[in-house]
Structures are given as structure tokens and as C-alpha cells.
């Protein structure tokens, strides 16, 4: 085992920080590091927090961490911010909001930027979660702006995904239709002390029930004839182990109001995941997806090496321009060694 992993397992913060850097840089040797982590993982619960900019994600995460700490649990946070597509640089500002956990090293807060590596961010996040889990964190929170597919993938690495919605004109609820509604296991109307919060709660309830009634959800008929479809979330909703109806909770993250009930719903969801067998199914799916992703990366790397071995693509491009060959034929030719070993 490498010294770095040994130090991480022994609880050295600097080693944990360095392992996450290696994961982010994806430099040489990072794969060996991550593969040594695997056997030590599986003890943490992982929650993804997403929502539009200004919804109050960082403030809520701060209060969540504080509450967990009061209960004697240790916390790891990964906060992801966008990076500039021009310089690759980024200002990562989520840390400023972590005011309640000052000087407490048992809250390990790490800022990450979406470094523009296509699909790479979800790999890095998954691996960073492994590092925090192996380190022994009880609770891991991933925080990100839910603005694009990439971000949706990231929160998808969490056991439970909470979507934050600020009260407003309904535009934010509109935004939710575009892909975020589907991933939410819990919806939070934050800043619930502001005008319009009640309306946003109602709108969300309607949408959640529409989602459940949709044939696409695979739960057609669930609550199909319920008359108080927009009523308060009641016990019965999640009484059976078959389906999960996302609860809608109201919080005022700034004051910490509603944070305890929110954490309770996370516990409920976790219990449902375990009871329904969904947790295991989800894990298996994710490991499978992870293998596929690593295979794609590995294969891509082999192909890059082969291209290099062939002296780059320049001369192929020349030949294509001169109409001597075409892109498909070139691809066939370059893949020939690979094809031979697979098919023969």
C-alpha cells in the first residue's frame, strides 16, 4: 500500500487533501491510489445537493454539517463550481458560507472546479467521495449547481439527491422540468420565509405527483385516484416499500429552520433505499457504469498511444484531403490491431 493511502487511513488530513488533488489532476499513479481505497469504502451516506445559483445551497450545507457535528458525526463536503471555459481558471467561493464550522477539522470541506474535462468531473467526484468515505467520514455532501448534464451526473453519484428551489414566480419550477425534477429524491423550498414560498410548495407538489402518475415513471396508478393529490405529505405516501414519493420540505437555511426535519427525510429515504433493495441495485448499477467509464478512458488512451505510434494523424488528414482515403477507412486501419485481438 502506498504511504499516502496509509496516512489517509490513519486519519491524516493532509494525506486526504493530497489524495483528492491527485484524483483531480488525474496524473500518473492516481488509478492505483483510488483502487486501494475501494475496500475501505461503504460506510458513509452520500447526499447530493443541487439547485439554481443563489438558491442557498452552500448555506444549507453549512447548517447540515453543523447539525451532523452536534450529533457527533464527521462530515465531508465536496463543493463544485464552474470553471472559466477561456482560461480554465476558477474562483471557488462556496467555502465562504461555511461559517458554522470554523476551525473544525472534522468537517472536511473541499472545493472542486469543473475543469472542463468532458465527463471527467463525475469520475473525479466519485473518486473523491471514495477518499472521504475511506477516511472515515460518516456523512458526505456533494454540492453543485444543477445547470447541465454534467452536474446532473455528479449528484447522480449520491445515494439521495436533494433539489433546492427558491420561492419565486415559478420560473425556477419551470427550470426543474428540464431534467432536474427526475433526479430529486427530496425537494427543498429554501428561504421559506419569503413571499411566494407557499405557492412554490404547491407547484412542486403538483409536479411531483404528475411525475409519479406518468407512465414513464414506471409506477402508473400509484396514487392515481388520490383526491388530495396536493395535500400535505402524509405518512402513507412512503408507507409501502415499492415506490418513493419525493417529500417537499421547507427550510430557512440562514437561520437553520427546517434543517432537522430535512435531515429526517434523508434518513427516511435511506431507510427506504435499504428496505426496497434499491440501495443495492443502485450500487451495482453504478459500479457497472464505473467500469464502463474506466474502460472508455482506458481504451481512449490506448488509441491515443496507437495514433502516436503511427506518427500522429497529420498524414492521414493529408491523404483524406487528397481524396486518397476517407475518415472511415482510416479509422478501420487504426483500429485493426485492436480488432484482431478481440475477434480472433
Amino acid at each position: 500500500m502506498s504511504d499516502l493511502i496509509e496516512e489517509l487511513l490513519a486519519g491524516k488530513h493532509r494525506a486526504l487533501a493530497r489524495v483528492i488533488s491527485k484524483i483531480e489532476d488525474r496524473g500518473s499513479g492516481y488509478r492505483e491510489l483510488v483502487s486501494q481505497l475501494h475496500e475501505h469504502t461503504g460506510n458513509a451516506t452520500v447526499v447530493g445537493i443541487t439547485g439554481s445559483p443563489g438558491a442557498g445551497k452552500s448555506t444549507l450545507v453549512d447548517k447540515m454539517a453543523e447539525t451532523y457535528r452536534e450529533r457527533g458525526e464527521t462530515v465531508g463536503v465536496i463543493a463544485i463550481d464552474p470553471s472559466s471555459p477561456f482560461s480554465g481558471g476558477a474562483v471557488l467561493g462556496d467555502r465562504i458560507r461555511m461559517a458554522s464550522n470554523v476551525g473544525d477539522m472534522d468537517v472536511f470541506f473541499r472545493s472542486m472546479s469543473a475543469r472542463g474535462t468532458l465527463g471527467g468531473l463525475s469520475t473525479a467526484t466519485t473518486d473523491a467521495v471514495k477518499a472521504l468515505d475511506a477516511f472515515g467520514k460518516d456523512r458526505i455532501i456533494i454540492e453543485t449547481v444543477g445547470a447541465g448534464q454534467n452536474e446532473v451526473d455528479i449528484v447522480g453519484t449520491a445515494d439521495t439527491v436533494a433539489v433546492l428551489v427558491p420561492p419565486s414566480s415559478g420560473d425556477d419550477v419551470q427550470m426543474l422540468k428540464a431534467g432536474i425534477l427526475e433526479i430529486g429524491d427530496v425537494f427543498i423550498v429554501n428561504k421559506a420565509d419569503l413571499d411566494g414560498a407557499d405557492r412554490t410548495v404547491q407547484e412542486l407538489k403538483e409536479m411531483v405527483h404528475m411525475r409519479d402518475a406518468s407512465p414513464l415513471a414506471g409506477t402508473a396508478g400509484h396514487h392515481g385516484v388520490e383526491t388530495d393529490a396536493v395535500g400535505e405529505q402524509d405518512e402513507d405516501d412512503n408507507g409501502d416499500d415499492e415506490t418513493w414519493t419525493p417529500p417537499i420540505v421547507e427550510t430557512v437555511a440562514k437561520t437553520g429552520e427546517g434543517v432537522e426535519p430535512f435531515l429526517d427525510t434523508l434518513v427516511d429515504h435511506r431507510a427506504w433505499l435499504e428496505a426496497s433493495g434499491e440501495l443495492n441495485a443502485q450500487r451495482r448499477d453504478r459500479y457497472e457504469e464505473e467500469i464502463r467509464r474506466l474502460l472508455r478512458e482506458g481504451a481512449g488512451e490506448l488509441i491515443r498511444e496507437e495514433i502516436e505510434r503511427q506518427g500522429g494523424l497529420e498524414r492521414y488528414v493529408d491523404a483524406i484531403v487528397a481524396k486518397e482515403t476517407d475518415p472511415y477507412a482510416v479509422t478501420e486501419e487504426l483500429l485493426a490491431p485492436l480488432r484482431e485481438s478481440v475477434r480472433e
Binding site: 493532509r14 488525474r26 482560461s87 476558477a90 474562483v91 471557488l92 467561493g93 472545493s111 481512449g300 491515443r304
Partner: protein, 139 residues
Amino acid sequence: MSTQDSEDRTIRCLVAKVGLDGHDRGAHVIARAFRDAGFEVIYSGLHKSPDEIVQAAVQEDVDALGISILSGAHNTLVPKIVEGLESYDAFEDTLVLVGGIIPDEDRDELYEMGVDGIFGPGSSMAETIEFVRENAPER
């Protein structure tokens, strides 16, 4: 992925405001310039204690820590940060920079404490960025 080998790994910096000094225009300017240079910048926010700065520098595993002090308290605040970094084995491979108002007669003492560079008023941004690039610790 070979698109990013360790040669051109992204440099991470913490831009820190420590103590009671509430002037952060300079820190903002530096943060933006670093970002535009392709660095990942974590900004601490105002009025942070040395402990908080140490916590952030350790957890974020930054290559460079830039401390902005305009209050004159550098002689008490900087040693606390250096000691804190040492206690987490993080001092050796963190580039420690101080910016702000540092009188000439205090500079030698700061360098002795382990500060790697001091950038006062009039320092050029390009010079500062170049300094970070060239002196970012090997890891």
C-alpha cells in the same frame, strides 16, 4: 487521462483575508487575476482567523497561500498561520505569499518566518503570477 499530465497540473491558490482588516479590494483583484491566469482560486472571505486560513489551506491542498494584510498585524498573524501549517505537515510544500502594506523593516523577519514572497503596492500582477508559476512546490 493523458490530456492533463502532471506537468501542467492546475495551480490552486487560497487568497486569504485575515484579522480585523476589512479592505478586500486588493484581494479581489488578485483573485480575478489568478483566475484569468488559469489558477483555481479559493477566496476566504473577510475577517478570518489564522486557524480558519490554516484549515482551508490544508483541506484545499493549495499550492500557494496569499495572505492579504493591510492592518499592520502581520507580525502576529503570519507566524500563527505558519505554525498552523506546520502542525499539519503542510508548510513545506505550500508557497506562502504576503500582500498588502508591509513596512520595509518588517520584511526580513517575515522571510525568516518562512514567507516565500512579499508583494506590496506597486507589484505588477504579471510578476506575481509568474512568481507563483515558477515557485509552486513540486508534488
